[in-house]
Structure formats: structure tokens, C-alpha cells
Assembly symmetry: C2
Homo-oligomer: 305 residues x 2
Amino acid sequence: MKWTVIATWKMAAEGVKLAETALREAGTAEAALTTVITDVENDPRFHSVGYSGLPNQAGVVQLDGGYMDGGTLSVGAVGCVENVASAFTLAKQCADYQFNNFLVGEGARQYAIQSGLEMKKLLTPEAQMIYEQRKAQPESLSSYKGHDTVGVCCLDSRGMLASGTSTSGLFMKMPGRVGDSPICGSGFYADSDIGAAAATGVGEEIMKGCLSYEVVRRMQQGQEPQEAASTLVAEFTQKLIRKRGQAEAISLICVDKDGRWGVGTNIKFAFVVSDQNHSAKVYVAEPTTDGCVIRPWNVADQDVD
Amino acid sequence: MKWTVIATWKMAAEGVKLAETALREAGTAEAALTTVITDVENDPRFHSVGYSGLPNQAGVVQLDGGYMDGGTLSVGAVGCVENVASAFTLAKQCADYQFNNFLVGEGARQYAIQSGLEMKKLLTPEAQMIYEQRKAQPESLSSYKGHDTVGVCCLDSRGMLASGTSTSGLFMKMPGRVGDSPICGSGFYADSDIGAAAATGVGEEIMKGCLSYEVVRRMQQGQEPQEAASTLVAEFTQKLIRKRGQAEAISLICVDKDGRWGVGTNIKFAFVVSDQNHSAKVYVAEPTTDGCVIRPWNVADQDVD
């Protein structure tokens, strides 16, 4: 009964603990993703995902989310959707059909209402205050505190792989901006014959390299997940610097069909892993010139959550 | 002075003829894409792109478009945008910035207005009539006449590669539906060190395989463009059938940094090519079990345009 779940950022730790209980009792990858992601979406402490997410330039919270079922390759995604309690749940629902798998904006919101999903005012007083403070000191757009998408990859005990994401995207983004989180192949990818992956960081960079697809492909060619993820992010960061003079934050998680996991990052990055032999634990990865080093998170790592 | 331009569907023939004149005089790939795509967007005869595009279930025309500069890997994309004369031009403009490269819905429309781009009522009386007729005979959603995205890949005489797309998407799609055309890696991809690609067909299938990215990657590994595109589409079609029981229409065009071009398809598919030695010519590709065969378009091929 082998299973593994890996998730981006320390904020996913409580959700992963909930998910591991279910996975131990033959829970599905799909259910595990839902547990982890909705736990983060509903938590007002986290300003980069769902409820209490930080708004765009116009003061409106617009969410992105994605889901891929590695068994069927079914994809569901939503971009720039407002007032939906769980962008991930809506995205997952979009994966149930043959067409119309990626919905954005008002059409996505209307579909959520018609589907009876929970609607919610997402902008909290605290998030609004952060927005007002930022508006008072205009400066060049830079992303907020690690632009922390929650991304989760899971292998369940039936051998199914799935991948999912949810985010409120870049703080002070332009209205209508969509990042990598709902983009199949960039924000997420899963193929139960091979592995699953998800990304966090600046979506505009991640989509230039289709990084979630590429890391799964490298696992297919025989690379171990840790080697695949860490060398891919290091190589692609170098490529961006060569072609563009700079590279923004990119972090990548993955798991293969045997339950082995891997991480790549070009910034200090925290993530959570649990499998059949190890209960949920938070790690920190830091980049090296050609990969990254991983160690357990400790209290000196409060700068990365 | 080597250059090549390749475009999806016969409807691109007039635009390719215009572009080849400029490419012969050292015109850029970016300008060639603009010439070909806006020619199709503005032509009311074509009901799958821009002006006179067929509407969604609610009777509204919503456009998708994408652009990638192979020199910088800059990406620009718009999804589900209304009343913009050229979704491609708007997408290309989104590529000029470091952030906010993919805009959708109302945010994308507002950005087009602010940028002074041409706005236009896109639904023509003829397209509305087709919509009314279809609404009168409800049936299961199926895509309209080959769901013909205009996709263009170009190598210019400076050695720059670029790729672009524009479409009104699936006829009778759900409001807010976005296809593969604005998805970097699925609808388009370009890297001037390797090659460029673009896709047409059912976006929901194309995005499951990140096919534009994957064909460029195969060219990087040394495959010739024709081998890369034709075997990729054949293999991925087989994979979809194995994992899902069926595969919808997929066609792919590509060009490499040496100006060699290739096509893959799982349906009868028409495309246009021009290079420094051959003026614009329309071809037809038809799938075989492991690739496709290509021959010049002739008057017996009126079923595919």
C-alpha cells in the first residue's frame, strides 16, 4: 500500500496531515488533493490562496486553479474567477466533461453558481488593508511574499496520480491576469504511467518552459524525481538568464509512479511530504548552481512559509 | 537569406502571400505573423477566427490568441476576450512586459481599450444566422467545421523564430471557455535556438499533451520537423485512445531554425507554406497509422479549407 503526497509551502502542512489519514485508509489521490487544497483555500491566514487572498490592482480577488487526473489525462482549470470559495473544486468539476475544461472570468463564475458550489466574499479586511497600504506607496510591480500557489501532487494506493493547484495569483496583478496555475503543463501535469508535478513562483516564467510537463517527461526518460526537478529548474533558470538577462522565482514539486518525490527551486522554498512510511514533514530546499539542497524546516526558517 | 512561413488551413493562403513579399525584403517573423493572422481575422468569410467568428452558447463571440518570441521566450496571450478586432495583436502586446502576459475576459478587453487597439462588433449577420439555426436543432456539442484556429510559425532571415495563433474557439462553447490557442506549450511555442510550432483542433485534447512544446523538444533532440510532428500526433492520438477510448481532431505545424517544416495530423488537414525558394502553396495532409502523407491541395479537396 504505497502512497505519497507532496505539497508546496509550509501552509499546506495541516492539510497534508488530514490527507495522510485518508490515504492510509485507501483514500484516492483526487480526495487527497481536495483535502489539502481546500484546507489552504479556506484558511484566512494565507494571503496567496482563496479566502483572504490578496487582490489585483483594482482591489478585486481573482483566483486561478487547475486539476489533472493522471489516469485519463482529464484536465480541469479556471482562471480569473471571482467569489468562488474553492477555485480548485471548480477546476476539478471542469475536468468531468469532454469539452469546456478551461473556463475563465464571468463564465467560470456563472458556471460555479449553476453548479451549486459555495460562493464567498473573498477579500478580508486584513487583505484589504494590505492592499490599501500598497496602493499608498506605488512602486514597480513585484510579487508578494513568494507568490505562493498551493500545488499538490499525489500517488494513491491504487497507483493513480493526480496534480492540482489554487492561487489568488500575483498581488497587484492587472485585472484579468492569469498565471501558470490553471495552465496544463506549466502549473501542473499528471500521467499515472509516469508521474505528477506542480509549480509555484512567477507564472510568467514557468509557462515559458512548460516546467510541469517537462519534469514528468524527464521522469519518463528514467531520471529520478529529485534529479529531474532540481536540474530542470537550475537549467531553465540559466536559460532565462542567458536569453532574458534575469529569472524570477520558480519552484517545482513532483512524484513518480513509484512514490518517489523531488523538488527543484531557484529560491529558498518550503514544502511538505508524507508517504506510507513517513508522516507529514516540512522541508526547506535551497538552490545550488546545478540543483538544490534539502533539509528539514526549523524555526530559523520563519522567512519561508 | 533563408526564411520559412507555415500556417494552418487554406484560409491563411492570402495572408501568407502578403507575408512572403515582406520576408523576401528582410521582414521580421513578428511582422509576418501579424500580416497572416490579421488577414484571416479581418476576413468575414472565415467563421472560426476574429470578425464573423461563430459565437458561444450565449450568442457572444469570445476570442483566444497567443504569441511567442523565440529569441526572448516572451509570451503574450489573451483568452475569452470580446469586441477586439485582433486577438493576436492584443496577445502580442501582452508579450512586451515582464508580468501580466496572459489576460482574459473583461480585464483583457479593458486593456485593449486602454491601449487604443481597434474594437469591433464581431458577430456578423451570417454568423448570427448560423447560431440561430444551430440553437433551433439542439444536439450534443460538436465542434464546427474543423475548429479552425489560424496558427502561424515563421523563421525570418535574421534567424528569429516566432509562433502565433488566433481563434473564436469551439462553436457553441460555454461562456468563458478557453482552448489551447492562448496556452503556451499547447497552442504555440517558439525557441529561436530550436524551432517553432502551433496547433489547431480541439484545444481540450491538445493541452493534455503540451503538443507545441513537445514537438519543439523533439526537434531539439535531432528529429526532423516532419518526423517530429507526424509521429508525435500519431503517438499522442494512440495514447488518448488507450487512456480515454477516443481522440478528437489534432493538427500541428512546425518549422526549425534551419527553415525545414513539418506537419502532423489525425484528420484531413490543409496548410500553407512559403520559403525563400517556393512561393505560397496549399497542401493537404492525411493521417496514416504512424504519421501522415502530404500532397498539394487540389479542387477535389474543397471539403477541407
